[in-house]
Symmetry: C2
Subunit: 192 residues, 2 copies
């Protein structure tokens, strides 16, 4: 029994190593640099080992995405928990969200841009993704305004943040004016 448990532990540990290495490599050199060969070399195993843990590269991206979604949810909650006032919380949320996207571009891509083979907007959506949306909803639902469904409002606000994040990082928007953009967005969208 104990032998099996040890092997399971080692296997789980190796899986964490794969995900962490993929993430680090992606963050450092971009997802294009995350090839199965390079990844295998970094973890000091051969390529086929990766396929004993994941179906393919997509699933590895998906694993990074889930890990990142949990961190994003935590970051948002941490940023809003210490702030008084609904409107101020929303501002803090927006800044925390954009800050996360800026500091973890590869992870952000894994969550929202790349195909990690994850389901969205269904009941079989992985828990971390639903929880990340829930974290947004907690603060944004307060400022949806009368007669506006909190979920709908959260979707719209989230989409705006997502647009700012991706367009900025893709070089479509200059990062200098990030602050006034957030200010404008919160001023107009948040009621109360």
């Amino acid at each position: 029994m104990s032998v099996q448990e040890r092997k399971q532990r080692e296997r789980a540990e190796r899986e964490r190593l794969i995900v962490a290495t993929a993430r680090e490599l992606a963050e450092r050199q971009g997802w294009d640099a995350v090839t199965t060969r390079r990844l295998a070399e970094r973890i000091e195993y051969s390529q086929p080992v990766l396929y004993s843990h994941f179906r393919g590269k997509r699933e590895i991206i998906g694993a990074v995405a889930l890990e990142g979604a949990a961190e994003l949810a935590a970051a948002v909650r941490a940023a809003t928990s210490t702030v008084d006032g609904p409107r101020e919380r929303v501002t803090a949320l927006a800044l925390a969200y954009l800050d996360f996207a800026e500091r973890n571009p590869a992870v952000y891509d894994a969550i929202f841009q790349l195909d990690g083979g994850l389901a969205f907007a269904h009941e079989d959506t992985p828990e971390p993704l639903k929880d990340a949306f829930a974290a947004l909803l907690e603060s944004l639902g307060e400022v949806a305004g009368d007669g506006v469904h909190p979920g709908l409002f959260t979707e719209v606000f989230w989409a705006s943040l997502h647009g700012l994040a991706t367009l900025t990082r893709a070089g479509r928007l200059l990062p200098e004016d990030a602050a006034p953009r957030v200010e404008l967005l919160v001023d107009r969208l948040a009621m109360a």
Copy 2:
């Protein structure tokens, strides 16, 4: 002289063929299916011919992006030109923008998601891209509100639309609620 001119015409014609074929293939089967081999086969030339027109696949994507940007600008102007009232124009703009993204997903990706090797937010940004932004600015600048820079407002509104477009198409948002999302966005962001 006439011989050279004919050759130039034929060359330009072939270049258009390459771009049109790449676009059609991308729209039909996704950008992943647009390989240099398949593209070469479709235009009935060998692969190296592509490289006598473009530096590589990136530049082909860029060419599709420029063509698409011009069409997007035209679509936005067409949708807004026949509408009375600033607010109504903005609603029409938003719907036209999202409609374009939905009906030309591959082209939209080429413009805003993929790396087409294009410069943005600089003075050396290609004209069609600057003009597409200008087309948005024409209608959005009217509803920026007092003391708000029209360019900044346009950026924020555009980012919101971009977020809705990409999240919807990536399966992150359900398409059913598209209409109320737009309504909410226009209601809150547009002043006047």
